[in-house]
């Protein structure tokens, strides 16, 4: 497989070319792609530098959802926070904007890992200032990571499980900080955690001044390339370049205009196609196809660290607590049709409980042979009906409260899923469409029988997914699912350093999930980006997700 570090390539225009370069046989195998394990490559000498050919100045107009329920990035899992807010912050390490995979220095210019893998030492840059003029020191890193690893009461952070083995965080001196782990973890995993776009570094004073809760603070100081100028709710967020940015020479544009638009919305599509927006992320397939045809426009597709699924409330509903019922529901889903239903609204692909494009997971060709993923659903439905009868629910279920996030894809799927449940299993549900913020509240409060949404993982690594999505009492485990055998296996997988053994264990874990589903997967998201060719420096074709390379510091307008 090509090594992104030493083989820079021009931007790819579509998946086919991308896959050819990746050496995957058959352009039709869109879904069986293998991307090298993220974080496997890291380079301590690759701090982002401005492109020598870059022109400076100008305003970049970009559109993303920027009316989040609150402003606390750490507590968030949605693009509505990371999309607009990240240009104002830096992280300890970051993923290189060149390939979206390689981990490179950011606020830490050098790092060391002890041979036993339990001590991570980061050397921080000197002379870095926050937007309010305060000096950046290791105390700020400690305060940030203490918060993420051990959030105060009232604060819930989805990345906490990633740092579960972080014990003491020691400030050696104002520019050196040490993380002492209670247990070793694979290097790629830990470095991935430190490089996650979500773990923005904030000032210790900011946290102290706000009782550790930044939900209502719109503009807390960061060290990032852009500074907040103004924000009009549900309209636009304007930022300007930070003249005192530590990375001299960056950023390259003078101003960011971030417009508020919903993902996959026709609003976004029409704004991009009519030239009102320079860079469109999360474009709908119809606009994206149109964009590909346009002269002077580049269109890219890449994978997203998000699963679209619906949860079954095992606490509230006795029937749903039975694994046979859940497996029946899992089998009754016609996944290929579900992808088809939204084909004009959002780009999706079929998948199971783990990312279909990760090398540890069951490859899609194999997956499609299993019940629940086949194109012909008759065998799966038969098995599903048998299970329901065996569990004592041969006559189905009534009056399930099905909570739906108010986004086009979920609304369409909810109707389709409702139809599939009724037709195949005689399960009757009532759809309740709510706003996103209300959905998360209802989900966490357990006010639902079925609830459909999308959730994020920070890394592609199964260990992250297993703890973030399926971990006991995990923040995104809305079904409140537990399975002792699985949790045991998951903790072994976390510690296993041998790849072959790990892969075998992951397959076993997948089997457990298939038979006792913690959630019912609908599909995995792909991302369609498009930009006018004057926007240079952003090549998302090899990115994983939209949460890591989001800073726009090395982007320029030609």
């Amino acid at each position: 497989m090509s090594d992104h570090r030493t083989d820079p390539q021009p931007p790819v225009t579509d998946r086919r070319t991308f896959l050819k370069r990746m050496g995957v046989a058959g352009a039709g195998a869109v879904l069986a792609s293998r991307v090298p394990r993220p974080g496997a490559a890291h380079a301590q000498d690759m701090t982002v530098r401005p492109d020598p050919a870059a022109k400076r100045g100008g305003t970049l107009r970009y559109a993303v959802h920027n009316a989040p329920a609150h402003f606390d990035v750490h507590q968030s899992g949605t693009v509505a926070n990371i999309g607009p807010q990240s240009p104002m912050y830096d992280t300890l390490l970051r993923r290189s904007p060149k390939d979206g995979q390689t981990i490179i220095p950011d606020l830490a210019h050098k790092w060391e890992i002890s041979p036993d893998g339990k001590r991570y030492t980061f050397h921080l840059r000197k002379g870095v200032k926050f937007h309010d003029g305060a000096d950046f020191t290791a105390e700020d890193v400690k305060a940030t990571y203490e918060r993420i690893a051990r959030p105060p009461k009232g604060v819930v952070i989805p990345r906490t499980p990633l740092l579960a083995t972080v014990g003491d965080i020691v400030v050696v001196n104002p520019h050196t900080i040490e993380f002492r782990l209670t247990e070793a973890r694979p290097k790629a995993y830990m470095l991935g955690a430190f490089a996650s776009g979500w773990n923005i570094i904030v000032r210790k004073k900011t946290l102290d001044d706000n009782q550790g809760n930044l939900r209502q603070v719109m503009n807390y100081p960061g060290t990032g390339p852009f500074k907040h100028v103004s924000r009009k709710d549900r309209e636009v967020w304007i930022m300007e370049r930070n003249p005192n940015y530590w990375n001299k020479g960056l950023p390259l544009v003078d101003k960011l205009e971030i417009y508020h638009m919903f993902p996959f919305s026709p609003e976004l599509g029409s704004a991009f196609l009519s030239g009102k927006v320079d860079y469109a992320r999360l474009l709908d397939p119809v606009s994206w196809r149109k964009a590909k045809e346009m002269k002077g426009v580049t269109a890219a597709a890449f994978n997203q660290s998000v699963i679209q699924a619906f949860w079954t409330n095992m606490v509230k509903n006795k029937a749903l607590a039975d694994p046979r019922v859940r497996r029946a529901i899992h089998l009754a889903m016609d996944r290929h049709t579900l992808v088809e239903v939204v084909k004009d609204t959002a780009p999706m692909q079929v998948g199971g409980f783990v990312y279909p494009f990760h090398e540890m997971s069951t490859p899609l060709a194999e997956l499609e042979k299993k019940l629940g993923y086949q194109k012909d659903i008759k065998p799966a439905v038969q098995e599903a009906r048998r299970l329901m009868k065996e569990a004592g629910y041969g006559n189905g279920l009534r009056n399930l409260d099905f909570v739906v996030r108010d986004i086009a894809t979920f609304k369409l799927w909810a109707v389709a899923i409702q139809a599939m449940l009724k037709e195949h299993l005689n399960i009757e549900s009532n759809l309740r469409v709510v706003q996103t913020s209300v959905w998360f509240d209802e989900a966490q409060a357990g006010n639902f029988d079925l609830a459909i949404s999308a959730i994020v993982s920070t890394l592609m690594d199964p260990s992250d997914i297993f703890s973030a999505w399926y971990g006991k009492d995990g923040p995104q485990n809305y079904s409140r699912w537990t399975n002792p055998a699985f949790h045991d296996l998951a903790s072994q997988i976390e510690k296993e350093l041998d790849d072959t053994k790990r892969k075998a264990m992951v397959r076993k874990a997948e089997e457990i999930l298939e038979n006792d589903p913690p959630l019912i997967s609908v599909s995995y998201e792909q991302i369609y980006d498009a930009w006018y060719n004057k926007v240079r420096g952003q090549n998302p074709s090899t990115y994983f997700g939209i949460y890591d390379v989001v800073r726009w510091d090395n982007v320029w307008l030609g």
Binding site: P266, G269, S270, D284, V286, S287, K290, D334, T337, E340, V341, V342, D344, T345, D406, A408, K411, L412, V415, A416, Q418, A419, L431, R432, V433
Partner: protein
């Protein structure tokens, strides 16, 4: 003809009934000839009501059933108005949408106008403090733009069919209140009512026997004129996403759902809106005709009252 020669007096009830019906029919014909538009409106309205009532029989398919083999099909022989993104038949959904929209509109208008009218009768007849306070309350209700009041109320009491009906009904109360109040006021001054009062008849009895019958005509005018408004408010609530919740098909919901893709299928964006327009048009024309007939004078003062203007 022989009937008329005989005259109806002294004839059996069946014959009397029949000739009443013939008289009614003749009235209708006369009405239609003078107000052709209103008659057409009435016929179309009746047709729509019939469609709404007979929806389960008329709709070719279940409006809620997704058909994954026929997603996003344009109008063709199998689906006369096309299908939506999950394969639901648009024609069936429009027909059932008529059911929901008309049910909501009729319920809301009847509820609101009746409550308002009864309140207005009480105000007009009883006068005094009750009238004063009631007037102020109605004034306050009328200070809110229709849609906004409906939105605020449905936010408070939740979404759902009953909530929407209730919210729209509340916005109709003041109109009934005002008009019927002035009718009651004028009837109150009539000599025979004075006589009734003098002879000790109870307020309730007088209101029921003398005032109410005079209110029937204005009530009918009110109800028909506000039907169109109620339909549009319900559709607007659905369009904004705060009306009758999905998956129940209402015309407003369908319009909102149609704009989910950059290139919305034209049949999804067109037919529900057309349905709203035709229905509102029909009932408006009918209402105009009824108003013309029952109050041909159409004085600005009356209109002002209908429109709810304040005078002192």
């Amino acid at each position: 003809m022989a009937m008329e020669a005989l005259g109806t007096a002294g004839a059996s009830p069946a014959i009397r009934g029949l000739s009443t019906m013939r008289a009614l029919f003749r009235e209708l014909v006369r009405f239609s000839r003078r107000n052709t538009l209103a008659a057409i409106g009435g016929l179309v309205g009746l047709f729509i009501i019939f469609v709404a009532l007979a929806a389960p029989l008329l709709a070719p398919r279940d409006p809620l059933k997704a058909d994954f083999r026929r997603m996003n099909k344009p109008p063709d022989a199998q689906s006369l108005l096309g299908t939506d993104q999950v394969g639901r038949d648009t024609l069936s959904r429009v027909i059932y949408g008529a059911r929901t929209s008309l049910f909501v509109a009729f319920s809301a208008v009847i509820l609101g106008t009746t409550v308002g009218s009864l309140w207005g009768v009480a105000c007009g007849y009883l006068r005094g403090r009750f009238d004063l306070y009631s007037q102020r309350i109605m004034e306050i209700l009328q200070s809110f733009p229709d849609l906004i009041l409906a939105m605020a109320i449905s936010m408070a009491i939740g979404t759902g069919l009953q909530a929407v009906i209730f919210a729209i009904a509340i916005t109709r109360i003041p109109f009934g209140g005002r008009v019927i109040r002035s009718v009651a006021l004028s009837v109150r001054e009539m000599p025979y009512v004075e006589a009734g009062r003098a002879s000790g008849a109870s307020a309730m009895r007088i209101m029921a026997l003398h005032v109410l019958p005079q209110c029937i005509a204005p009530y009918l005018v009110l109800a028909t004129t506000h039907l169109g408004v109620a339909i549009v408010i319900e559709a607007a609530l659905g369009f904004l996403g705060v009306g009758v919740p999905p998956p129940t098909p209402t015309w407003g919901n369908m319009l909102a759902d149609s704009i989910t893709a950059l290139v919305p299928p034209w049949w999804l964006a067109f037919f529900p809106g057309l349905a709203i327009t035709v229905t509102v048009l029909a009932f408006n024309l009918l209402g105009d005709g009824i108003r013309d007939t029952l109050d041909p004078r159409l004085s600005p003062a009356f209109l002002r009252m209908m429109a709810g203007g304040r005078r002192g």
